[in-house]
């Protein structure tokens, strides 16, 4: 190995690699499969050089949120955070990491999906539903969230571990909606049944979908986008929106926000305005992700149930976001045994 010759070559490569500076940096935890094309289109339309960085389920969603907090303390580089759920963004707002921005594109988004201080805006939601294998169960038998614990389904039901992702926000929201005691009873029951194998605990919501799709479980909690992938592929599954007569179904929107110390705020605002347009919600509804438009006026395919088609759970997301870390610590105590 000839070190004297190798080092200048490496140095030259280094300088080349470092020369490109983007006009906008977006961190996006909506699956790359659905968000990448949209971000590329924004770049084409505006002529801006956009650097998009994504998250994956494999690292338990520790990736982008942790990185934003770490970078904020040393050298902020992210301009816009497009999150596929809302609790982490609410927690970031509470920690003073976000810049208020009242986007003109968000004016027709219902108030419950917007932060009062304009630090974040929700759009294109997913519902937390039971995916049911119709070869194994009559969907009419599943009506309430508590059916998950019915002894009839012992060993045939599934949930993702509520330490990350939308299951984390879902379980935390139950404390807000059902009250402290009932919320805890639900989560504690799930943890107890998980330990003895009565409730299967999957690696994530997509895995719950696969277990039900393949008949390894009869039904389980998942998100509507995961359900739609199985439906789209022709598996014998339906989505049950539970508790229509009760507290309703949890609806978790994508959220978008500008970082407080974003180095490129003008471009960040342009991107937020672009993403929050009704056309993008419509496109996400048409995609395989089948996101639910939060604006009733946005057109959607027939298989995407609109917000008026089921009873959405009324959740105080500000409160849930504030307490999410404490709740996660409680879930950790219950589920990691």
């Amino acid at each position: 190995m000839n070190l004297p010759r190798l080092l200048p070559t490496l140095g030259l490569a280094f300088l080349t690699a470092c020369s490109s500076e983007p006009d906008l940096v977006v961190y996006c935890s909506l699956d790359q499969e659905f968000s990448e094309e949209l971000i590329l289109r924004f770049a084409r339309e505006t002529g801006l050089e956009v650097r998009a960085e994504y998250d994956i389920e494999a690292n338990k969603n520790v990736g982008l949120a942790t990185r934003i907090r770490e970078e904020a303390a040393s050298r902020p580089r992210c301009d816009v955070f497009w999150s596929n759920e809302n609790t982490q963004v609410v927690a970031m707002a509470g920690d003073g990491l976000l810049e208020p921005y009242d986007s003109p594109s968000a004016r027709d988004i219902p108030a419950e999906f917007r932060d009062r201080e304009h630090r974040w805006t929700g759009f294109a939601a997913r519902a937390r539903v039971f995916i049911v294998n119709t070869d194994l169960v009559d969907p009419a038998e599943i009506r309430s969230m508590w059916d998950l614990f019915d002894p009839r389904w012992k060993g045939q039901v599934a949930i993702a571990r509520p330490l990350a992702g939308t299951t984390n926000g879902h379980m935390a929201a139950l404390y807000d909606v059902l009250g402290e005691a009932e919320g805890r009873r639900y989560v504690e029951t799930a943890a107890r049944l998980a330990r003895d194998g009565s409730l299967n605990v999957a690696t994530g919501n997509a895995h719950v979908m696969r277990l039900v799709r393949d008949g390894q479980a009869a039904f389980g909690w998942t998100d509507t986008d995961d359900f739609n992938v199985a439906r789209d592929a022709g598996f014998p599954v339906v989505a049950v929106y539970p508790d229509r007569e009760g507290v309703g179904t949890v609806l978790i929107p994508n959220t978008i926000c500008i970082l407080k110390d974003a180095p490129r705020k003008d471009a960040a605002r342009r991107f937020v305005d672009w993403v929050l347009r009704p056309e993008i919600e419509a496109e996400l509804a048409r995609s395989r992700a089948a996101q639910i438009p939060v604006r009733a006026s946005v057109p959607r395919p027939e298989h995407v149930v609109g917000v008026e088609g089921f009873k959405a759970m009324q959740v105080d997301w500000l409160e849930v976001g504030r307490s999410i870390q404490q709740r996660t610590a409680e879930f950790q105590e219950l589920f990691l045994k």
Binding site: D31, R75, R77, T328, L336
Partner: protein, 512 residues
């Protein structure tokens, strides 16, 4: 050895391998340590330790006979199985777990132990094979004359065990730091959590990062407790090697046991590599909807179209990491061995980058490199290269040190007397003499970098790696394209080693 060169090497090792960890450790204060060993976390840790021991035992039980059969006996096509035996360690354990979960109903702790044991047995097999080859031929012949093969093996096992146990400690360390396999394998039936889950969960549930870092300390301690004695085992395994008039042992004739031995070797390979790979091929060709060559071709075309740029990035980062790690490792590994007692005392420090969970190393990388002065590095692909180099440098240092132990110091002494300076001796005498170890350890860094995800995922450049795209695609299910992409990754991971084996006569020294 030139002191400035060693100091430069030490500086590079400190910057790449130790500084990210030190920055994380500095965040921990006394309050964060409170409740570190609660009843719950102690139980998790105990279970994790049992998993590690189980996986290491499985690796030993499979690896020692495997290593013996392919290195010393006349089992048919032994050389082919020896090379193929490396395959399981190159496959991501989650891929193996997913394949077996799809083919059997085995779940929970036992399944996790078996999967991780099968994935790590090549470490033991490689070390055992090398140790069996270093047994003096005359000593073995004497044992064979006295009591046959049984007596010979009885006499040789104690000589091989230090090497095998050293490798088994690496199997233990890999097993206790894995969270994906236990999580996936216990998705149906009683949930089987391990301590690595606790480390990940703590990053989401802790108000401050100090507590999250502290949550990793028990796992770090467990890893260190395994690696510390492993260094002593390694030293013994090196010492049990050649004496001055060493004679290589002859190939052992198995007689009627030749074919059962082949069945054992093939069964191990099937369970650990061929079955998972076969399942991937089956899925790439259509899987449950019916296998066809046209679907297989379409899956590969799509995988190449979508993953081409990611493959190129991963290859660039992995080659870059190897090119950086090898010169540093050459200087430090040589110095470590030649420093005698001081080297032995410093050896545990070399293992530190491997002893911490990947997530901690990755976040430490952000804390270290995401600064105004180094921001350009952090934003570029160099961040991934430096992260990989720092994380996997210990393998190079130890492999070079092991190879240096076999190099007669009188060769260097003669060069010194002839007027060659330290840098010249290193470049012209030591490096060529150790070339199998230099290239072999570089290959190890390449392979590990190609399949690294947990630490890399936290830095910007990770977005362009092929493993990132693969796991992104796995999220929505394993269709043909995902299986084809996984096979492409496996191919590129094994390609350099395969090419070397096919076209070069010298055997690579990859063992630390």
């Amino acid at each position: 050895m030139s002191r400035p060169l060693v100091l430069l090497g030490l500086l590079a090792f400190t910057l790449l391998g130790l500084a990210p960890i030190a920055l994380m450790a500095l965040r921990v204060d006394a309050g964060d340590l409170h409740g570190m060993f609660s009843e719950r976390s102690s139980e998790l840790l105990w279970r994790t330790a049992l998993l590690g021991v189980g996986a290491a035992l499985t690796a030993l039980l499979v690896g020692i006979p495997y290593g013996f059969l392919v290195s010393r006996t006349d089992v048919p096509a032994a050389n082919v199985w020896r090379v193929a035996g490396v395959l399981p360690i190159l496959l991501p354990p989650l891929v193996v777990a997913m394949s077996w979960a799809g083919m059997t109903d085995l779940r929970g702790g036992l399944a996790t132990t078996l999967v991780l044991g099968l994935c790590t047995f090549p470490l033991v097999a490689l070390y055992a094979a090398r140790a069996f080859e270093r047994i003096d031929g005359r000593q073995e012949e004497a044992a064979l004359l006295v009591g046959g093969l049984r007596t010979a093996l009885k006499a040789e096992l104690p000589l091989v065990m230090p090497s095998a146990l050293f490798a088994a400690t690496f199997a233990f360390v890999l097993a206790i730091n894995d969270f994906a396999v236990p999580d996936y394998v216990s998705s149906v039936g009683p949930k089987w959590s391990v301590y690595a889950d606790e480390v990940f969960a703590s990053w989401r549930s802790s108000k401050d990062t100090g507590a999250a870092v502290a949550s990793a300390l028990p796992l770090v301690l467990l890893t260190a407790l395994a690696l510390w004695p492993a260094l002593e085992l390694r030293r013994r395994s090196l010492m049990t090697s050649f004496s001055g008039d060493f004679r290589a042992p002859a190939t052992l004739r198995l007689g009627v046991w030749r074919w059962p031995a082949l069945i054992f070797v093939l069964a191990v390979l099937c369970a650990s590599a061929f079955a998972p790979l076969g399942r991937l091929v089956w899925e790439a060709g259509g899987g449950p909807r019916g296998f066809s060559s046209s679907v297989l071709q379409a899956s590969f075309e799509r995988a190449i179209e979508l993953g081409r740029a990611n493959l190129a990035s991963s290859l660039t980062f992995a080659v870059g990491a190897a090119l950086i790690a090898v010169p540093i490792g050459l200087v430090l590994g040589h110095a470590l061995e030649r420093a005698g007692t001081l080297g032995r005392r410093l050896a545990p420090l070399v293992l530190v980058p491997l002893a911490v969970p990947a997530i901690l190393f990755g976040i430490g990388g952000i804390a270290l490199w995401n600064r105004p002065i180094t921001g350009a590095i952090y934003d570029s692909g160099w961040m991934a290269v430096l992260l990989f180099a720092g994380r996997f440098l210990p393998f190079v240092v130890l492999a070079i040190a092991a190879a240096t132990a076999m190099l007669d110091p009188r060769v260097e002494e003669s060069a010194r007397l002839a007027g060659a300076g330290p840098a010249r001796r290193l470049a012209r005498i030591v490096a060529p003499a150790l070339s199998p170890a230099v290239i072999g350890s570089g290959l190890v860094v390449f392979v590990l970098s190609m399949r690294e995800l947990d630490a890399a995922i936290l830095v910007p450049a990770a977005n362009s790696t092929v493993l990132f795209r693969l796991y992104n695609a796995v999220h929505f299910g394993r269709d043909g394209y995902v299986a084809a992409l996984a096979l492409l990754v496996v191919f590129f991971v094994i390609a350099p080693g395969l090419l070397w084996t096919l076209f070069c006569r010298r055997r690579l020294e990859v063992l630390p």
